[in-house]
Symmetry: C2
Subunit: 394 residues, 2 copies
């Protein structure tokens, strides 16, 4: 059989998928492993209404091929929405994408030749690593504290590393840690990007889901030199399954995204773009977001309370002010992937082992816990069982 | 500003887009340039029904994240549909894609390292070239007659070319020529693929839209060694804007597609996959296809009649037995791209210049004419005007 490309070798089998299979195989197992928004908060009646309305108003235009760049009605709504976030842009700066995941891939296509390096946090979004992997990139991994990436460590690495092309960050309530970058770090990264000639991918799917604290400006809103490519998504606040996201960047970059996207999938679903536009025109996105925030905040509080009160004192956790995840660190030497089968069997609880979220060196004593897609009763039962299990094995 | 990847240099600005802009700028211009199915034949009432039904029956499951591989209900319907075409496969052999366009890209990701070669017909589908371009491939271009690619010419090239990894073909009523490969050529290509260790991408978006002649077996249906990756689509027979297509291949290949797709866009639209599945379960796809065939056949006949009766005798054309396009060859030395502005201005008619459909050496005396998305009256007026124009300029 004909030899496959080198890309195939670059792809790692997913430990997460293996974990998911293990958890799925145990009936009734409480899973904190998923990364899904709560389906109960997806406005189903609104979807009935907007689907019918789009077909009445746009007819077959919503079912026909459209522009690779994106449906104009949606692009205009996105521009308005971004203005409220102090991101000043025009339709020419927007490329609609199939989820913000596709924005990650397009940016990597734009910037990365084989052997080029991407700066990522320890830990970082696993889906970004999956996106980057087939391009044969290297990683410059940088540790983070509660305020974001450690910029001194980043600069020290930038002084010795060659062909570093871009930095990938999720500054608001990241997957997997839930951390938020401070304003100072945001400004600091922009300055370093300027000094070392880097692009920044600012991936912001969770920014709207904030439980407390003041809204911090995005790097894109402070970007004076077009160094930031901002990625947004409707997946976490509206309908994940519609796969509608967008990128915001300089026109020349977006023009290139459009060319790449022609080859990758021609365009994103036209009906879905009409549906999201129709929602934004006729429904209250802020009220929708508030209902999500109210629901998730209660679940987060519950999870953190049990973590603090019942888990072994040697267990550390992040303090997510938003988003869908808490990141947990067990004592050094513990391997959460190795522990998972026992945890499923004995505690009837599943989690995502944290190792795969590290680009270079897996820190195996970590785990990601999701609270958005678990009901409160299950959080109480599952977290107490996990606490008991950890008391036993640590 | 940080240097972009080499991929950006590989992308050619699109002459087609320029042509489209020119045609669009002239109000009332009759355009044979598009490549769109007729929106009048997209079942709009069925779409109202299936949208409501999916939301009633699947609820938020249709709006939530799903499997990267594809929605199970749709995959099962695809397997059944393929069995009727003598393509025997199981769900494990299917990867749902965002249009068959994404199948082209996934296959190129799988097979092509920089500098590897892809065999393509002269001319070939421009969207495939757009998909391949950022991967930095070379092309082995092979001429074709009315029965398909000239296999002697292909083999002569295979004997000297290095790192040829795959062959891309549209054997049924191709875009841009409308030609159909003979059974002998299909078998011949399979044999050459075996002899020279090549993969075949069999791209088949138009196969169902047949106006005459017996159905010929797909190469996939005759593939005993897993050398064929078959690409299908619902865009030409149902709803183009939903962007639902699929690939059929060996399980190990489809597993790799799934990994790539996780990084590219995580998954295709879940609602759209439910909608297509619901149509296939509750409506008659064969009747839908028949209505398209009846409509397009009349338009094709009209276009070919005027071509034969009124165009200069020096003009050659293909004889499409299906699909949406006729390919026209003018005398040598004519440049259809250069002629287009004059044709728009004087004849009020637009077409796609054929040059960009050649991977290596543009044959500039060619044009592609679309008949699916033009009504009969416009075909008569436009084709007569084009005939008159060509009599004047040739």
């Amino acid at each position: 059989m004909s030899a496959f490309s080198k890309r195939v070798e670059y792809m790692k089998p997913s430990a997460i998928r293996e974990s998911g299979k293990m958890i799925g195989a145990k009936p009734g197992c409480i899973s904190f492993a998923g990364g899904l928004p709560s389906p109960d908060l997806m406005p189903l009646d609104a979807m009935r209404d907007i689907s019918a309305r789009v077909l009445d108003e746009a007819g077959t235009n919503a079912l026909q091929y459209g522009l690779t760049r994106g449906y104009k009605g949606l692009v205009e709504e996105i521009v308005k929405m971004l203005a409220k976030k102090d991101i000043v842009c025009e339709p020419k700066n927007i490329q609609v994408t199939t989820g913000s995941q596709q924005g990650i891939f397009l940016t990597a296509m734009l910037m990365i030749d084989e052997g080029d390096a991407i700066v990522v946090e320890n830990p970082t979004y696993l889906g970004a690593l999956t996106s980057f992997a087939p391009l044969g990139c290297r990683y410059v991994d940088v540790d983070a504290d509660d305020d974001g990436m450690l910029l001194e460590q980043l600069e020290a690495k930038l002084q010795v590393e060659k062909n570093v092309k871009m930095v990938y960050v999720v500054p608001n309530f990241s997957n997997p840690t839930g951390k938020e970058w401070s304003l100072e770090r945001r400004k600091g990264l922009l300055a370093l990007a300027e000094k070392y000639d880097l692009m920044i991918i600012e991936d912001d799917p969770y920014g709207d889901i904030r439980y407390e604290g003041e809204v911090l400006p995005s790097m894109k809103s402070m970007d004076t030199n077009g160094r930031v490519i901002y990625l947004g998504s409707f997946s976490k606040v509206l309908y994940a399954g519609l796969r509608v996201g967008f990128t915001v960047a300089e026109e020349s970059i977006v023009d290139t995204f459009e060319l790449f996207k022609q080859g990758i999938d021609l365009q994103s679903n036209e009906f879905a773009q009409n549906q999201i536009a129709c929602f934004l025109q006729n429904y209250d996105l802020d009220a929708q977001i508030q209902s999500i925030v109210d629901n998730y905040k209660e679940k987060r509080d519950l999870m953190l309370t049990i973590l603090d009160e019942e888990f072994p004192k040697s267990v550390k956790r992040t303090s997510p002010k938003g988003g869908m995840f808490v990141w947990v660190e067990l004592p050094e030497g513990v391997d959460t992937f190795a522990l998972l089968p026992q945890c499923i069997a004995e505690a009837n609880v599943g989690y995502v082992p944290g190792g795969p979220f590290y680009a270079v060196e897996e820190q195996k004593n970590t785990m990601r816990l999701n609270f958005s897609n678990v009901d409160k009763e299950a959080i109480v039962i599952g977290m107490k069982a996990l606490a008991k299990f950890l008391h036993k094995v640590l």
